[in-house]
């Protein structure tokens, strides 16, 4: 266990050099980095180049000649470049995180020094690799060229025969071929490593040189955010729904913060306003990525960051909504012949709840779920309360309430036998079902 690890274990603050060392170790920022790029991203195994075997068949001989005549086969370049890009993204995000944590440009200076030192070493390896590759190319090219020049017009097997008679043997040629493939693969990894480390150094340089710009932008940005009504412009939106998801307490994960910081640093903004614009832009992008997909996940996320409860948060919210809906008045005295249809609309149209008589339908947007109920089977007359009918008949003695003459006439016809209140013909048998009281719920 190193001294730095021991101090880390006992929560003693690390000095900058130790932090730099930790960062480099975590990100393989050393000579082993090219080796990290020649691994399969899924299995983690080292990418194997094309290899020729010594025990050759006639068919293999044809393959050898064709391959020796052309350049290296390679084939892992795309994977190596992808690995390098992924490493760079992660490392820059990490750098941004460490830069944020260490609160010091000394950290970045340490990274620059270390990076430059590694690049020097890698470049040394690159020179040696390049030299060796040149030797192999020459060794492989010479016998073939000679054979071609001497025996133009000769047959295929004659040319192979010439190779056997050349300065190197067939087994040596195969060995050189195999070595060249390994070197080509490693050279690509080396090149990518140098490019990526250069980018990390450039980033760290930027952080050192523009630290004051970044700091000022941060102070101004914070002040702006804390200004009342920054986000909503002081507006209260129209949201009369019975349950509204709020993620005000949701704290974005450190990774998201690092990702935004890394993207900003990569853009290398030159002034405070540019920094703030980038922070806003990348924060919005990252927020979109973090945002739950629909209201169901949003409720679950809200519940996860709040006080723990044993029950399913969706059931709690669903029961609340059902209670709200069922407490809304039906008012007319029900006859018992009515029927209700209750629908639950959900973000994907799939059932959220199991309940007898509950039908599920698709909500207009993924951000809504709710219940709606139709109670049918009442005629219009049955929805008139007795007190309302009495009020109407009382009023009709003093003023007209109807707007069409035919209805007044009909009313008069109904009333003519006596001046006592009598229901209109239109409000006939239905009122038999009416009983006193006008406020009733089911």
């Amino acid at each position: 266990m190193t001294a730095a690890t021991i101090r880390e274990t006992v929560n003693e603050p690390l000095n900058i050099n130790e932090q730099v060392a930790n960062f480099c170790r975590a990100r393989h920022l050393d000579e082993s980095l090219p080796g990290e790029f020649v691994r399969d991203p899924i299995s983690g195994r080292v990418l194997q180049p094309v290899v020729l075997e010594v025990n050759l068949s006639r068919k293999d001989l044809v393959a050898i000649v064709q391959r020796l005549r052309s350049g290296p086969v390679g084939g892992h370049e795309a994977t190596i470049r992808n690995n390098a890009e992924a490493w760079l993204d992660d490392t820059l995000a990490d750098l941004a995180r460490w830069f944020g944590m260490t609160r010091s440009k000394t950290f970045c200076e340490g990274i620059v020094r270390r990076g430059e030192e590694i690049i020097r070493r890698l470049e040394g390896i690159q020179v040696a690799q390049s030299k060796r590759l040149g030797e192999i190319e020459r060794s492989l090219a010479q016998p073939i060229r000679e054979a071609r020049e001497r025996r133009k017009g000769f047959g295929f097997f004659d040319r192979i025969f010439r190779i056997f008679q050349a300065a190197i043997s067939i087994s040596e040629s195969i060995s050189l071929f195999n070595e060249r493939e390994v070197l080509v693969r490693d050279a690509e990894a080396l090149k990518c490593a140098i490019t990526a480390i250069t980018e990390v150094i450039s980033e760290a340089h930027y952080a050192i040189q523009r630290q004051e710009v970044l700091r000022k932008a941060a102070v101004e940005g914070k002040e702006a955010l804390l200004r009342p009504g920054y986000d909503t412009a002081g507006i209260v939106p129209f949201t009369p729904q019975h349950y509204r998801v709020a993620l005000d307490r949701f704290d974005p994960p450190d990774d998201a913060v690092s990702a935004v910081l890394a993207k900003v640093l990569r853009e290398k903004p030159q002034d405070e306003q540019a920094v703030r614009d980038l922070v806003t832009r990348f924060a919005k992008e990252e927020a979109k990525r973090l945002l739950p997909l629909d209201i169901v996940r949003a409720i679950e996320q809200e519940a996860a960051i709040s006080e723990a409860v044993d029950e399913d948060p969706l059931v709690i919210v669903g029961e609340h909504l059902l209670n709200v809906m069922q407490s809304q008045p039906l008012h007319p005295k029900l006859t018992g012949r009515e029927f209700a249809q209750t629908f639950c609309y959900t973000p994907d149209g799939q059932p959220l709840f199991d309940a007898d008589g509950l039908q599920t339908r698709l909500a207009p947007t993924p951000w809504q779920f709710g219940f709606v109920q139709f109670v049918s089977g009442l005629s219009l007359e049955q929805t008139c309360s007795e007190s309302a009918i009495k009020a109407l008949e009382r009023d009709l003695r003093e003023r007209n309430v109807y707007i069409f003459e035919d209805l007044i006439e009909q009313e008069n016809v109904e009333r003519s036998p006596s001046e006592e209140s009598a229901p209109l013909a239109i409000a006939d048998a239905a009122f038999e079902h009416q009983t006193s009281g006008n406020h009733s719920n089911t």
Partner: protein, 390 residues
């Protein structure tokens, strides 16, 4: 008892910073070309405006118009679409009462017969209540609102005709002159898609209450005009949905609340059973609809009434408007409406049967949540950056 006002709070739509687009700016939400909303009267307008706003939050904008005798403006509602705030545009309104009613009545025999002060339709209505020329409104007397509609019936019909055309009769989709073959193909394809969409039922949703005056009168008279215009324009298929609010939600607002509402229900029930029949308006404008019923379906939405005292408070009224709009939006969403009406039709219920609607909804404003997350992230990034020493 007179209660003093103790506390003020800023209305949600009252704050209007410079960066809010003008109210008439188009909100980037697709139009619902299958639904026309007609909001009548004060409460119809309030609920209609909320309904349209909720539809906007749900991703579509129905075409909406309003008719009223009261010139009071609705309080604005604000919505957030994407990263921008918008003041929800209010449905265009036909304000009844522009014509000189005394002169109009004097010049037309039908109107004279109907609206002789103190007689017939105006029996028992005080002279003072008829002097609403300057103040507007119909003072809770449905016959007064009806008189206004009768006087301006042609203008009202023109207003409704325009609304129906704008809502349902889309401009012909033809390729522009000199269009390439590709552009012609695209235009033809779009026209085909539109035709397929238009094969769905055109819904006309009329919002009104019976407790007041304008909604009460419009709820009975506008169906005459609407069905006639639908026939003239050959719009089919059409589903006319009446949405009746109250009366408990308006408890105590006027002394006529209960009587007006009961009268509307009786009158409407009569028309639903026997059809609209014939109606003659001024200047020999006659509509004969025979057994056509005013509405294919009637929905009822009511509130709990006054929680204390005999009159609902402004807060209770606003809460009801919100709730009614939510219930309406939930009930009228196509998936649910089609399923519910399918079941009702299966049960062979006559049109005079009504449907009480109740609802409750949970909502997450995705744009607002994203903005909140972005803001917290920004703050965290700034904290990280500002803590570094120079």
């Amino acid at each position: 008892m007179i209660r003093p006002i103790e506390r003020l709070s800023r209305h949600s739509g009252a704050v209007r910073p410079a960066n809010i687009p003008a109210p008439n700016q188009d909100i980037p939400v697709p139009k619902d070309r299958q639904t026309l909303l007609i909001a009548a009267g004060g409460s119809g307008r309030e609920i209609g405006y909320r309904y349209v706003t909720l539809c906007c939050l749900s991703g579509t904008l129905p075409h909406a118009v309003a008719i009223d005798t009261d010139q009071a403006e609705l309080a604005p509602l604000m919505v957030r679409v994407g990263d921008h705030w918008f003041e929800m545009p209010k449905p265009p309104r036909f304000l009844l009462g522009n014509a000189d009613w005394q002169e109009a009545i004097a010049q037309d025999a039908i109107l004279r017969a109907r609206y002789t002060p103190g007689q017939g339709l105006l029996r028992g209505i005080q002279a003072w209540d008829m002097r609403f020329q300057a103040l507007r409104g119909a003072f809770g007397h449905p016959p007064l609102a009806q008189m206004r509609i009768d006087i301006e019936v042609r203008e009202v019909a023109d207003f409704l005709r325009r609304a129906l055309v704008e809502a349902f009769v889309a401009p012909p989709q033809v390729a522009p002159p000199g269009a390439s073959d590709w552009e012609k193909l695209v235009a033809a394809r779009r026209a085909l898609q539109r035709n397929q969409e238009e094969a769905r039922i055109h819904r006309i949703v009329m919002l009104f209450s019976g407790a007041g005056s304008t909604g009460h009168a419009a709820g009975q008279t506008l169906p005459y005009l609407l069905w006639q215009i639908i026939r003239d324009l050959n719009i089919a298929p059409v589903e006319m949905i009446g949405v009746l609010f109250g009366p408990h939600a308006y408890e105590g607002l006027t002394q006529y609340t209960w009587a007006n509402d009961a009268a509307l229900r009786r009158a409407l029930a009569h028309r639903m059973r026997h059809g609209l029949g014939k109606r003659t308006f001024r200047e020999d404008f006659e509509v004969d609809l025979g057994t056509q019923v005013p509405f294919d379906h009637i929905l009822l939405i009511d509130g709990p009434g006054a929680q204390s005292g005999h009159k609902v408070s402004d807060v209770e009224l606003r809460t009801f408007y919100d709730q009614a709009a939510l219930a309406l939006r939930a009930a009228l969403q196509r998936e649910i409406w089609d399923a519910a009406i399918g079941q009702i039709n299966n049960d062979n219920l006559g049109a005079h049967y009504v449907h009480i609607v109740r609802s409750a909804e949970a909502f997450a404003d995705g744009d607002a949540l994203r903005a909140t997350l972005a803001r917290r992230l920004e703050m965290r990034v700034y904290e990280a950056l500002s803590q570094n020493d120079a």
